[in-house]
Amino acid sequence: MPLWTDAATPPPDRVITLEYSPAVELYFREPVNLGCAENLVPHQIQGEAGSLEQGTWIVIQAGVEAGQLETVKFLAYGCPHTIAACCRMTEKLAGAAVGELVNFAPDWLTDELNIPVEKAGKLLILQDALRECFDRWKTAAGENDGNYVDR
């Protein structure tokens, strides 16, 4: 059983380093925009992605007023990077045009929070939740204002 499978690079011993950037630490300890309503009120949209089994599960809720995201909140089951990403993203989106929900740019988040590349999959789940929000908004509004195209 030859275990030294790759002569050039040793296999990583583990995936979790428990080394987080100060921003991630802070968001983890004091998450912002936490909490969702049990029942949606008018002008509220919700997106959900992932699951317990997948190891990451995110719910995003936003209040929309005239094409603007007023409040954006979340709940999450996930690793510290996921939680921090939700915090930062919801902060960023508050006040933005609703179309920003589908202008997800993971590089920006990765850089700001120092998220390792192995965690890319978790950001895709966040992206899916945001996209679902947008889709719901489109459906609920029964219109496409022409500014936002579902790409």
Partner: protein
Amino acid sequence: MELPVYLDNASTTPLDPRVADAMVRCLQSSDGFGNPSTDTHALGRKARAQVEAARDQVAALINAARGDIIWTSGATESDNLALMGAASYRRVRGHHLVTSATEHKAVLSTCQHLEQQGFRITYLEPDRDGLIEPEAVKAAITSDTILVSIMHANNEIGVVHDIAGIGAVCREADVLFHVDAAQSAGRLPLDVQRQCIDLLSVTAHKMYGPKGIGALFLNRQRLGRIEPLMHGGAQERGLRPGTLPTHQIVGMGKAFELAASDMDQDIVRIASLRDRLWDGIRSVPGVVLNGHPQQRLCSILCVSVGGVEGESLMFGLRDLAVTSGAACNSATDEPSYVLRSLGRSDQLAHSSIRFSLGRFTTAEEVDFAATSFRQAVDHLHGMLPDRHAIASG
């Protein structure tokens, strides 16, 4: 109280200061450095005497004869030597071994290696409490079986197997019985004679002794011969060549001596701390205990939490030095395969936390750990998209 609070004694223990003293004395003495295999000058003989005194100390704790103890570099080597040495030599008699799916990797990987060499291995699945019963071993033994290897106490969940019962089954079937006692030595009484053990692996660093030194007990009468893993000088009866590390052996001997004298009171004290910890966290929503509630080590408390993500739980517990199911580290104990074989969901396996207490754990530390745990879980449950998930975990 120093942070992090060390509750990872099943991974490795701090050195007992009395062991450290013995080792330091040996390291600093001007005449303790001779080669113990050289008995043609006084410096070698002095080292040899220390090695043999330590052999007595180790033998005494497990009720073995001094001559049946072989020094190794740790339980990993002892496990390898026991399984490969006995299997290779006995292959003329049979090709079948019986072990459990929840053994340490040192046993499991060695068994996988033996499979590649033409042996057949039965990996017994534990029951929901993590236990392998003697009857299950009995049922697995065939006329081709040469060896059974079952650990005394499991390193992750701390359950304790009925070694005497399994030993009796093996003796009756005339099959060799190997026991990995890395976790139990010093934490449970051991008696190789009464428990019908033919091969027993121990390591010093799990019982307040130094890392890098272990021993294998071999019942010479029953084993006859065994094939060495390494080849070289005739140290340790040709079974384990290499210069003997006197200071390491002295440390291991001292650790075993202390285990003999302190074990009874250690067990009572540590078990009561473990219960105190459990009392402090059992009411936390979603908490489940892994492994049999009674038949377990005084020192290990392994729990999982529904609706909590493992890595975030670990980070929430960063003031505690514990082992987590989320940190599947292939180099040390990887808990998840044990929990999965108990039927735990991936979520629960991932959110498992092994608290392992030791001789130097205090009530204050345990209380701090309980509080940290409650707070960390509450914090994460507060973010959970659906609180029903706490129970469904």
